[in-house]
């Protein structure tokens, strides 16, 4: 079930977005729940009370607030790095600040059904239906984690540390074994001791990758090109 929030101070735009999103999800074949917000402050209240959404369609220019403030609220106050933000805008010039919130996509007004459908198809391609799970055993217990909640794996002698959004754990295994299993699910290995989820890359600094939780992952000398190749493939729709 995909939970989507649409926030735009123009009712007509919200209505149109809702219609297109429903159509697209029907077409793709996923269940969706859409909530409409006509102002940024109502959305903030909703988020503060604990409501979560997978995708936000955010108008950049809102009357009582701006897309930037709300994005800041989502990413920095709520520390939510896994929800995706899609900016909807009448302008096509984008401020540099917006990119710091790692938006998933930009949609220009006026938009049509096709644009919305392509965007949602891309979301499903990258984030799956949100039910892909990773399984590991530690001791007698088996654990299941949603792939979209895993930031990265780090080798720790014979064990592997798994860094998730809200927690950290460990299990017996090897990075190499994990790489083989997860390479088609968006995990790349910039160093023999690390396997990272490309969706949680915040930035690149020289020979280091900074993850959204500010952890630094080194890039091994020979691996830079391999990483670039994989990233390009993700951008090019998997080719």
């Amino acid at each position: 079930m995909l939970r989507i929030a649409v926030c735009d101070d123009e009712e007509t735009v919200c209505g149109l977005l809702e219609k297109y999103i429903l159509d697209s999800c029907n077409y793709i074949g996923i269940n969706v729940e859409i909530d409409i917000f006509l102002s940024g402050s109502i959305l903030k209240k909703e988020l503060q009370s604990g409501n979560v959404y997978n995708i936000f369609f955010l108008d950049i220019e809102l009357q009582d607030d701006t897309g930037i403030n709300i994005s800041d609220f989502i990413r920095n106050e709520l520390k939510n790095e896994s929800s995706q933000i899609i900016y909807v805008s009448g302008k096509n010039e984008y401020d540099r600040q917006l990119f710091a919130f790692r938006p998933f996509s930009f949609i220009e007004k006026p938009f049509d059904n096709e644009v919305i459908r392509n965007t949602l198809e891309k979301y499903v391609r990258i984030y799956g239906n949100n039910n892909e799970l990773f399984c590991y055993k530690y001791g007698h217990d088996t654990y299941w984690v949603n792939i979209n909640n895993i930031l990265y794996f780090k080798s720790n002698r014979r064990k592997v540390d798994i860094y998730m959004l809200e927690a950290k754990d460990e299990f017996y295994g090897t990075i190499q074994g994990l790489t083989d299993k997860l390479v088609y699910q968006g995990f790349i290995s910039p160093h023999k001791s690390y396997l990272i989820n490309f969706r949680f890359i915040k930035s690149f600094q020289g020979q280091t990758i900074i993850m959204t939780n500010n952890d630094k992952i080194p890039i091994a000398k020979g691996k830079r090109d391999e990483i670039s190749k994989l990233l390009l493939r993700f951008e090019n729709g998997g080719h």
Partner: protein, 417 residues
């Protein structure tokens, strides 16, 4: 003058040019200096003095070798480098010297030539200068310029010609009777050859400047076009604003009459009026907008169907100059391939995400033209263009991948900003 003194003068002269050769090589090989230019010149002078004096005083091959290798190794400390690279460079240059000597002397033996030009070491020195230039050019080729084989052939003519002239004119008997004449001839030959290399350098620089000028001219063209588009856009908006009252009145009337279809028609027309058809992209980033609008206009008038997906901030940590080189050259490549094909489609995606800039350009191509990633020695302009693109990509620690499949050529590039 004493024949021995003249021999020594000739040796000293050839030594000057040999050490000039080492100096050139060091300039080229090592990038950064630790000391001033003055200190550098002094040290090379000292090298020359030690080497020449020891040779003249001792005439000992072992002492020659030591006074060649050790001072040069010490001189490498003038430049920023690692120790093992210093050792390798010193040994390499000495090996090249020995090799050229060996080649010259054995060729002379084989061809039974006995001439002062060989025995005095002038021929070896000239060949050493030649070899050094070849090494320089070969390494530079892999970095920046193409080897222009015609030019290489031209510059070989003077050195080889000098050696041949030397062989014919400088006979051993003449050296006994008129050593001063021989000395003068040697000197002139050496200076002539050194000049050839100096001129070759100058033409190389001129060539680089021309290349730079072409790039800047292209960029200016793109900017000029962009300014024109912006001006057009602004004047149309001005007209629209001016007539806004009238337009609103018209729409109001249509709304009052319930003529919704006519309202849609009217607003569509107004929207079309504001949009300049030649303004294909409007990301707000001047560098990208300029070059894309220019190239996409060229694509449009050639009947190419264009699709773009641009999401970049208005400010990026990459200069307009570099954007121009990458996008300009890649799009030129695409446009060339498209001109030779039936179904013309072009797709440009530029996206900025998490500090990386992704560029994906796809175009259809016909198998007849078989657009391949042209290597620099294939074709003048294209080859140089793609070489520039690669150099610029390296500047941002980036990566590029080109592929052609099912009549679609894809160029994928990522830059880390």
């Amino acid at each position: 003058m004493n024949k021995m003194i003249i021999e020594n003068i000739i040796y000293a002269t050839t030594n000057i040019f040999r050490i000039y050769c080492f100096y050139r090589f060091a300039q080229f090989w090592f990038k950064k200096k630790n000391f001033s230019q003055g200190a550098e010149y002094c040290l090379y002078l000292l090298y020359f003095i030690i080497n020449t004096v020891c040779h003249i005083a001792f005439h000992n091959p072992l002492i020659n070798m030591i006074t060649n290798i050790i001072p040069f190794f010490l001189i490498t400390y003038l430049y920023q480098s690692k120790n093992y690279i210093r050792i390798i460079t010193t040994l390499m240059i000495y090996a090249v010297c020995l090799l050229t000597d060996a080649v010259v002397y054995s060729t002379a033996q084989l061809m039974k030539i006995d001439s002062v030009v060989i025995t005095s070491g002038i021929a070896s020195t000239i060949m050493l200068l030649c070899t050094e230039l070849m090494i320089e050019r070969f390494i530079q080729y892999r970095k920046h310029q193409k080897i222009i084989f015609k030019h290489i052939l031209t510059i070989l003519v003077v050195p080889l010609g000098s050696i041949v002239i030397g062989i014919f004119t400088m006979q051993p008997e003449q050296f006994d009777s008129e050593p001063e004449v021989i000395m003068t001839e040697c000197f002139i030959l050496l200076v002539m050859n050194a000049m050839v290399f100096v001129f070759y350098d100058m033409t190389g620089k001129v060539y680089q400047q021309q290349k730079l000028r072409t790039i800047l001219e292209n960029q200016n063209k793109a900017y000029a076009n962009q300014i024109k588009l912006i001006n057009q856009s602004q004047s149309r908006i001005k007209y629209l604003k001016h007539d806004l009252k009238n337009h609103l009145l018209k729409i109001r009337t249509l709304a009052q009459n319930g003529e919704c279809d006519k309202i849609l028609e009217y607003t569509d027309e107004a929207q079309k009026y504001i949009m300049i058809p030649e303004k294909y992209v409007e990301s707000g980033n001047n560098g990208i907008d300029s070059i894309l609008n220019l190239k996409l206009y060229e694509a449009d008038i050639s009947g190419v169907s264009v699709k773009t997906e641009i999401s970049v901030p208005t400010e990026l940590d990459i200069s307009d100059f570099d954007i121009n080189i990458i996008l300009g050259n890649l799009l030129d490549n695409s446009l060339n391939a498209l001109s030779e094909c039936e179904e013309k489609k072009l797709y440009v995606k530029i996206k900025y995400d998490s500090g990386a800039m992704y560029i994906i350009i796809k175009n259809t191509f016909s198998n007849a033209s078989s657009q391949k990633r042209k290597k620099s020695h294939d074709n003048d302009e294209h080859g140089l263009g793609l070489l520039s693109v690669e150099n610029t990509i390296k500047k941002y620690s980036g990566f590029s991948e080109f592929s052609g499949k099912d009549s679609v050529y894809t160029a994928k590039i990522v830059l880390y900003l």
